[in-house]
Amino acid sequence: METLSFGTILAFAVNAILIENVVLSQFMGCCPFFGVSKKSDTALGMGMAVTFIMGLASIVTYGVYQWVLIPLDLEYLETIAFILVIAALVQLVELALKKLIPALYNALGIYLPLITTNCAVLGVCLTSVQEGYNFLSSFLYSVFTALGFTLAIWIFSLIRTRIEETCDIPRAFQGFPISLIAAALLSFGFMGFNGLSF
């Protein structure tokens, strides 16, 4: 993927957002997916925070891998290096936003610390390296994956609000099990996008 035409970017986006949705078909980022999807506005906030961090993390981990780990022959330390980079990045972004853009900090603030343990961020950075994406592709891949996460968590939060308000759920299924079954049906729906692959 050296020359990125509009068509390839579009195909890339459809693939990462709909066909191989990060939560619903790859099971990465399930903790925040179930944890912060009770209301649709918190779900959207989490989605935006994840998109922001994932875009940044892909840039920084790409740099760390290409210019630190490869020259030093330490590729096998990628897991340790990436998780530290992500944890540090989340802290820095939190401090920077608090100081520079308080409005955005107020909107995203409480979600930021949770992102360190979102396995989608680490997973996407590791996948980019394993697939040998170049700088631009790995950045686009993470942003589109994060948008897929945002779409999934937002739809899921709307379904959950409706379930809580209108349904009479058997006692054993209350809480987590019924959410998992709703997620199963949503994932089943997203499987329909497999027909779009080209």
Binding site: L24, S25, Q26, F27, M28, G29, C30, C31, F34, Y76, L77, E78, T79, I80, I83, L84, A87, T116, T117, N118, C119, L122, G123, L126, T127, Q130, R171, A172, F173, Q174, G175, F176, P177, I178, S179, L180, I181, A183, A184, L185, S187, F188, M191
Partner: protein, 200 residues
């Protein structure tokens, strides 16, 4: 706490997946077959035991403020070790689990046990806590893996079951993972409420 109580807590009454609802991502992603589920469970158990022991040994030296960062580095070190061992000795499992082996780093069960148990207890109880919590994770994964393999591919550990009947391939797909785990946790909730009802 006695070893027997720890065993019961890890595998049943406080099972990390079915009761504490931690570690959902690897549970859903690697339970497509029984052998993958057991491979994932045992790798996580290995990391959990090692990190619990080391964190318990270092619990008086790690400063309170940077403890989470220190735990993550310790865990990531053992995960890298597990990753290399699997690649060298169990290549087929290594290929099947893929990116989910390095992702053991962000498995919340391991960080949760480090924070809530190993950082406050002596080495021997921490070792057993790691062992039984890890086995509890493996146990839940193995049940889900067996159910999904039998229903989704009509096999168990690779052996064909029930002759010519076509399997319900839904259970091998991502949607089947969510569905299977939903029913499994519902069963666990049902059993635990019935047990509480009986003892009252």
């Amino acid at each position: 706490m006695k070893i027997k109580d720890q065993f019961n807590a890890g595998l049943f009454t406080d099972n990390p997946v079915l009761i504490q609802l931690l570690g959902m991502c690897p549970t859903l992603a690697t339970s497509t077959t029984l052998i993958n589920a057991i491979g994932m469970g045992l790798s996580a158990t290995f990391v959990l035991i090692c990190s619990n022991v080391l964190i318990s040994l270092l619990r008086k030296f790690i400063p309170q403020k940077i403890r989470i960062a220190a735990y993550i580095v310790i865990i990531a070190g053992f995960v890298t070790l597990a990753d290399m061992l699997l690649e060298a000795y169990f290549n087929s499992i290594y290929n099947a689990l893929g990116v989910f082996i390095p992702l053991i780093v962000v498995n919340c069960i391991i960080l949760a046990r480090a924070e809530s148990f190993a950082s406050k207890n002596k080495v021997i109880p921490s070792f057993f806590d790691g062992l039984f919590m890890g086995l509890g994770f493996t146990f839940a994964l193995a049940i889900l893996g067996a159910v999904r393999e039998i229903l989704g591919s009509g096999t168990i550990l690779g052996f064909k079951l029930f002759g010519g009947i076509a399997p319900l391939s839904l259970f091998a797909l991502p949607a089947g993972g969510f569905l299977g785990l939903g029913f499994l946790i519902a069963l666990a909730q049902h059993l635990s409420t019935r047990k509480k009802g009986g003892s009252e």
